[in-house]
């Protein structure tokens, strides 16, 4: 058990340790496990602060401000849209059985399709509408990929609410239009929050689609990482620093939804402990 824990944490230790190494220690032999004189220059460099000892093959590093801002914008935008659209659809599916089994098939399909299959034709559209290398372009794609996830999770939560709750509300004079917002919404807040964090994590970290759809303007964190690798001559320290910063919010959010994790990961098929 202890061995499993060590193995689970080792790569993260290695990543953080690398982010604190000085340039000569990056490729040193024997390996420097923990730098004797840890430096913060790798972190300074990715934020455009002066880092006099950081001399790399690619010259000056492009600051990663933009990548962080882009990733945050994309993740927040996707999450907001996916939750609104997903919640409405989940309510309709749960309470009115809209679409029947075919909805499940479609939602499952979004997880089966190799992204490249739809990306090639989408590139045709995106070029026409100037959506390539833009934040809205990324949000649109991530929305399509993740909205199914929201439906799977949220629908399970709505299903758990007894029908009597709505019947009582409508007897009290709440209109049909207001029920999903005034009555049901407060009851599934927890599920919505979990779904939102899921979507946030998934779109914050996506690599494949972003690699195809972004050039310079809409660079997200994983793409910035990729650029540091190839554009800046394998700038190991800054890459590790960027990675460390990028995984912090994910780990925090991950712990916040730990209880809902099982349900989310199994796409709602397994009821997590509440």
């Amino acid at each position: 058990m202890a061995l499993a824990a060590v193995l689970a944490l080792f790569p993260i230790f290695w990543l953080v340790s690398t982010s604190l190494k000085n340039v000569p220690e990056w490729f040193a032999r024997p390996v420097v496990w923990i730098s004797p004189a840890p430096t913060l220059e790798n972190y300074a460099a990715i934020f455009g602060l002066p880092a006099p000892n950081l001399i790399i093959a690619g010259g000056v590093l492009v600051p990663a401000f933009r990548a962080f801002a882009n990733s945050a914008l994309v993740a927040v935008g996707t999450t907001a849209l996916a939750i609104v659209i997903g919640y409405l659809a989940a309510y309709s599916i749960s309470r009115y059985k809209t679409g029947g089994a075919s909805v499940y098939f479609f939602v499952l399909t979004t997880r089966m399709l190799p992204p490249v299959a739809v990306l090639i034709p989408l590139l045709v559209f995106f070029t026409t509408f100037a959506l390539v290398d833009s934040i809205p372009g990324l949000i649109i794609i991530y929305l399509g990929v993740n909205v199914g996830f929201v439906i799977w999770i949220v629908r399970g939560f709505i299903d758990d609410i007894p029908k009597e709750v709505e019947e009582a509300a409508s007897l009290d004079g709440v209109s049909k239009w207001a029920i999903p917002f005034k009555v049901i919404l407060p009851l599934v807040k927890g599920g919505l929050a979990a779904a939102a964090l899921f979507v946030f994590i998934l779109s914050w970290t996506e690599f494949g689609v972003a690699l195809i759809l972004t050039r310079f303007q809409a660079t997200t964190i994983p793409i910035q990482l990729f650029k540091y690798q190839y554009g800046a001559g394998n700038a190991l320290g800054p890459m590790a620093a960027l990675s460390t910063l990028a995984i912090i919010p994910v780990i925090i959010f991950g712990y916040l939804i730990q209880k809902q994790l099982v349900r989310g990961l199994s796409m709602g098929a397994i009821r997590g402990r509440r």
């Binding site: 290695w14 809209t98 997880r111 739809v118 239009w177 995984i247 990961l265 199994s266 402990r273």
Partner: protein, 299 residues
Amino acid sequence: MSVIQSFARKFKFNLLLILPLEVVINFLLIVPFALAIYLSLTNWEPVLGRWYEAPIVGIQNYIDILLFPRFQGAITNTLVILGAAVSLEFVIGLALALAFFSWDFRAKSVFASIMLVPMMIIPAIAGFTFQTIFFSEGALNDVLSRLSGTTVTTDWLHVPQPALFAVILADVWQWTPFMFLLLYAGMTALPSDPIRAARVLGASETQIFRRIMLPMLKPIIAIALIIRSLEAFKIFDVPFIMTAGGPGTTTETISIFLYKFGIEFARQAWTSAGAIFIFVIIVIITLRASRPLLPKAGE
């Protein structure tokens, strides 16, 4: 309000709620997919002009790509990674879940939390981290050097078999927690009466596991395996960052192949054919295997 009237209103209301979803799915899934099918039947390449003017060549693209050894190689590589990674993840995950389930030890929740960490790591970053572990001046070689007393300088990611193995290892590291989590959740949800009854009747722990727990866990095992296999089939980020499909094409997965030929080499029509072929195969296999995933009629 008459029955018909209320039915009409109900009908409108639920469709209105689902309308945004329909727009998204149609715009992002059905239309592009239909276009992909059309493109796969043409010989369109962007340099040759507009896509709607490209001549239709029928199923020629499908024949060509299926006979292309590199595509076959990508399928083989993906299946090797999928088979090795998913089965390792399952065995280790099951062992860990069993240990968690049957032993009571302190700091259980701390260990559980630690186990979940790899899953949270951004795949691209996991790929980068494992690259720095396996490269010539990486952590692995240092450990090997100390153990063997010689200096090991092999660049593991540039030797065919080890590179493939490294990709598998990275996947196992990242996704074993997933198996563990699902199987453990499944075990804690099992009814305790049959297990207790069997124990009273003198069944051994092995018998309890094999005859009682395993059959009851079947649906969850199926779900875990299906979800992991689907994801592993699309594996892209980690091998792309670690090896970019190399050395040569030894770690080139289906997704990397499609990316290279569809985007870098701009063989859109051809790649569409490949992607659709793969998609159809996945759908057929998944639909046959995914009965436990779909909601039951009575639910």
